[in-house]
Symmetry: C2
Subunit: 307 residues, 2 copies
């Protein structure tokens, strides 16, 4: 039986494994995709201390860091079930096999919602982005479109308006779901154009994004020439496994956590994009911070229970 | 007038400056000691992705990262006063001079309390440590002493008991201030010895720590042979400047912050060891995470106020 089982191989999971190993906890880290969502970042830029690093390189460094500890068992497997067991939890793998652990950390991440239009996959990382906070900086003086109508889209447009020459905010409805003051502030910006009641039909380019096609013309044309398309239509946190344990969700559908990143189920913790920690600000550095806090919580939990 | 003034040059302040610059906010970062408490770590080991890096090197990398942004004004000065001003806050420097900013982030850190005994300064980083979480890992199979009677000391001893061969927990009183279950758990560990009603007179060594002297003999000797001394008698968060603004403190004396790292004073944020965020788990990676969250909060605050 492990002291802690970490499910997920992104920045939160790796950091949790590093901290757990340094506490000399017997640690299992398991997941399907090494690096998690981190590997989708072509250029990171906001990992403190690394002016230039790619997502895959940063994740590879973290993975190697984890693998430098003999306290950590690193498995590549898909966890299909998590249930309570005597003295802790039992993980069940696809294709059979189980592991048991006294505590568990869900670091299962989230999936950004996709538009599902032609060109989206082709140009992912080549002009198509799902994180304005992460990537706005690479569009200084350029023209970009933001797609969406919620807080993330409007906030993303505001961030991009600080950096880019011109921002189109494309929303399929007439009104925004975002708080009105946000969209009102945006309306006053001279470099933001609202493209309302319009939907994206296709993202076009040549090696990288050069524009997009709309279903209905805007200002006389169904084409917009842009250097980047930011798709900000929400994310789906991977809460399924935690929900098998009946871990509570917050009002946005993320795992509800206390100050120690513990979920509503004692001994079950969460870190990174799947959790509602760090004010829902999903970044490499906040995921890593939550991973560290979760292990501190795990350690206290194990001590209390008589480790 | 700056958009944001960051006070403090540690991991929290540097990370905040990086995020602020990437949001293209006009940013001031100011403080006295480059690197903050980070420079006191001889070997970090738990900064994700860097198996081996010294505190000074990590802080230097973060500083260079900050300096790579033209949006950031980097000043070396001692801030002696922070007060409200029209549209924001005014910082006053020792020796004169002021700056104004629409928002402020206190990243002023904390100071670990020292015992004030002979040998303590001489062997700092050479066997004397103020952070069991950070440094326990370097004492595998060794003999160490922990000094203190509160949660940090007892938790520190528990962490060290996982790693070290032998742990002496030295406390000047008969009872612990820490929660009883913690110390009860410790009593069951075969490699932990309680040295109660004893105080450290001197830390001795030869290039590095070899032992310590007690004021009164324990088990017949006033000497303990140890490879490391962990001084865990608390920390004093540098809240003075924030208190000039009447920012509220939490029940442990740290700056009270909301989920967005905003203090009780609108527009004034806190990040890192001075704040009560991250469940009071003071680490490079949690400080950095809080710096990022604070800037996300600053950006939202500025948008609301019509940036």
């Amino acid at each position: 039986m492990f002291d802690v089982a970490i499910i997920g191989l992104g920045a939160a999971g790796y950091t949790a494994a590093i901290y757990a190993a340094r506490y000399k906890l017997s640690t299992l880290i398991v997941g399907e995709e090494e690096g998690g969502m981190g590997v989708t970042a072509a250029e990171v830029g906001n990992w403190p201390g690394d002016i230039e690093v790619s997502g895959p390189d940063l994740m590879e460094r973290m993975k190697k860091h984890v693998q430098s500890f003999k306290e950590v068992t690193h498995k590549s497997a898909r966890v299909v079930k998590v249930e309570k067991a005597a003295g802790g939890f039992r993980l069940q793998y696809e294709g059979g096999g189980t592991d048991e652990s006294r505590t568990v950390i869900f670091a299962t991440g989230s999936k950004k919602r996709q538009l599902g239009v032609a060109g989206e996959k082709e140009f992912a990382g080549k002009g198509v982005s799902y994180c304005a906070t992460c990537d706005a900086f690479f569009y200084r003086g350029k023209t970009v479109a933001v797609v969406g109508g919620g807080d993330a889209a409007v906030e993303g447009a505001a961030i991009l308006a600080q950096v880019a020459k011109q921002v189109y905010l494309i929303h399929r409805r007439k009104e925004f779901r975002a708080e009105p003051y946000w969209s009102n502030q945006l309306k006053e910006k001279t470099n933001v154009t609202f493209v309302l009641e319009r939907s994206v039909k296709e993202i076009v380019g040549d090696g990288k994004v050069t524009g997009l096609a709309l279903f209905h013309p805007f200002n006389g044309s169904d084409r917009l020439a842009v250097d980047g398309v930011f798709i900000e239509i929400g994310a789906d946190p991977a809460v399924e496994l935690a929900q098998q344990l009946k871990c509570a969700l917050d009002d946005r559908g993320y795992l509800k956590v206390g100050a120690d990143q513990q979920t509503s189920v004692p001994g079950a913790f969460a870190a990174g994009d799947v959790s509602g920690g760090s004010n829902h600000f999903a970044q490499f550095v906040t995921a890593a911070g939550e991973g560290a806090v979760a292990v501190s919580g795990v350690f206290a939990f194990l001590q209390e229970r008589g480790a």
